[in-house]
């Protein structure tokens, strides 16, 4: 029966299979391979912590990763403290030029072989984000689909629209000096999951 259904599909259509996932170390948050994932949230909402934990998880497995840093805001010491193996990471600084960042992402995705490709568009002015044509995300989705690469986009607000498989919205809950920061992660896509709360404190990441 399944064979007949497959035959009945129009040309070019394929069955969607469940992708492999890479855990981030935060319970309930796994990033799918071969898909676009998006992390959106305002400043101090834990979005960079989440990205660092993903990079730490991938680099500790020996995977090579790329960070395309549009606003040149990456901080290697805090990433290393999070567990990112910096020798496995290529850092591309675009000095605020979102167009360069998109072209670099395109080149890196076409090159292939990376575990995680992160495009950091956080704090890019809204005018710059609005100039990104929606077709760019469809193009990225097509490129990344047959590969085991996780393509993560980090931004202040959701930008990839229907092209992302996973959309995570982050919120800050409270700041306690000398103790840490509480964050809350709500997955908007796929919907229906309970929000995950996590707390970053001086020397460890705790889920609670």
């Amino acid at each position: 029966m399944a064979k007949m259904t497959a035959l009945a599909l129009p040309l070019g259509w394929r069955h969607q299979t469940d992708p492999d996932c890479l855990p981030t170390g935060i319970e309930g948050i796994d990033f799918p391979r071969g898909r676009i994932s998006e992390i959106a949230g305002p400043s101090s909402s834990g979005r960079t912590s989440l990205l660092d934990s993903l990079l730490a998880s991938a680099t500790s497995r020996g995977e090579h990763c790329v960070l395309i840093d549009t606003r040149d805001s990456f901080d290697p010491p805090s990433a290393a403290a999070y567990g990112v193996r910096l020798e496995k990471l290529i850092w591309i600084r675009c000095r605020g030029n979102a167009e360069h960042a998109l072209r670099a992402a395109d080149l890196v995705l076409h090159s292939g072989g990376f575990g995680v490709v992160a495009l950091d568009l956080a704090d890019v002015p809204a005018a710059g984000l609005n100039r990104i044509p929606p077709t760019a995300w469809f193009r990225f989705r097509r490129v990344v689909e047959p590969t085991p690469t996780i393509f993560v986009v980090l931004a202040n607000r959701p930008v990839t629209k229907s092209c992302s498989t996973l959309l995570i919205e982050t919120r800050r809950r409270s700041v306690k000096f000398l103790r840490g920061v509480d964050y809350e992660i709500a997955s908007r896509k796929p919907a229906g999951k309970e929000p995950v709360k996590f707390h970053v404190r001086l020397h460890q990441l705790a889920v609670g």
Binding site: L86, S111, G112
Partner: protein
Amino acid sequence: MFACINWPLAENLRELADAFSPWVEQVAPDTVLFSLDGLHRIYGDARSTAKALAVRAPGANIAIAALPDTAVLAARNLPGVVIIPQGEEMRYLGPLPLDCLPLDAAIWKTLDRWGLRTFEDLACLPEDGLHDRLGDAGVRLQRMARGALGRPLKPFVEETIYEQRIELDDALELLDPILFLLTQFLNELCASLKSQSLAAGELHVTLNRARRILRLPFPTRDVKFLLKLLQHNLESELPGEPVSILILRAVPTATRLLQHDLFTIPAPEPERLESTLQKIRAMVGPKNVKIPEIRNTYRPGWGPAESPLAFRHFRPPLDARVELAEGRLRASGIQGTITEISGPWRTAGDWWRADAWDQEEFDLVLSDGALYRLHFNRQSKKWQLEGVYD
């Protein structure tokens, strides 16, 4: 059999050795070692060969032995012409003092403490016990002292220069014809490298008088890949003047050997990765594509972090205006009332350098709820927002 000539007065010892054998190792400026294989057809036995050598090198120390290092030790430490028959090495080498061996200071001290003075003393020690105490180096020295250390000859090979050049009557102003010539050069160079089982480790391109060096991430002789790299390099940094002299030189190195593993996590193909990174470097600048590193300093943002709180830098830091009385902060695009503050933490360093730092750091929560790092620069007396915890 091997012959060694030790002749401090000789001007061109290798030329002398070349007259006897094509396989010559230059052990030191005054010492050459070469193989005697096949020479018996010309000179007969070892004695006749030694005589022929003595005629060409009067006054030199000449030694003939079955193994290379035995011949070298005998030529350096025994005067005149010495022929050591196989199996009788200890008779000749045994009385030599231990300082004739290439000993490092630690082993020399140990052997001296054991009361060993000559090759014979060292040769008599049990090999297993020596290995337990001095390791492989000790056993190697003992075999050398016994005249039983074999090794292949390292023949001297004239260095080949892999270079192609052209001087043009009419200078080239466009990239295309330059790339056309570079393609021809690369074809020639890569064919030469292939004939010697070598690959290019570096490319030196000279355009008129300006030389650029392309350090390749891995040894290769793939013409297409090398041409692509040259093209990206030339496009990212144009020559700036018409080119009339074009020189391409490849620095040879051993080829890359790879053994793939079924269980290895896939990594980017080096050729494609380098080509991609070259394109990105041409777009964003060569300094903006790198592997991040942590430096051995306490300078903020450079050295190791104490806390895993993820941080985002404002590069350059934003000039801020802080109204201390009202607890308000204002910077480019950020403003609000300070609701919580922690600090100051004073940090200073590198006072002997022009880029010394001396600042007081604060962590503060603004009324928008975000956690920022603010510092007061004690040199310029300025408040600056360094970044945001995220």
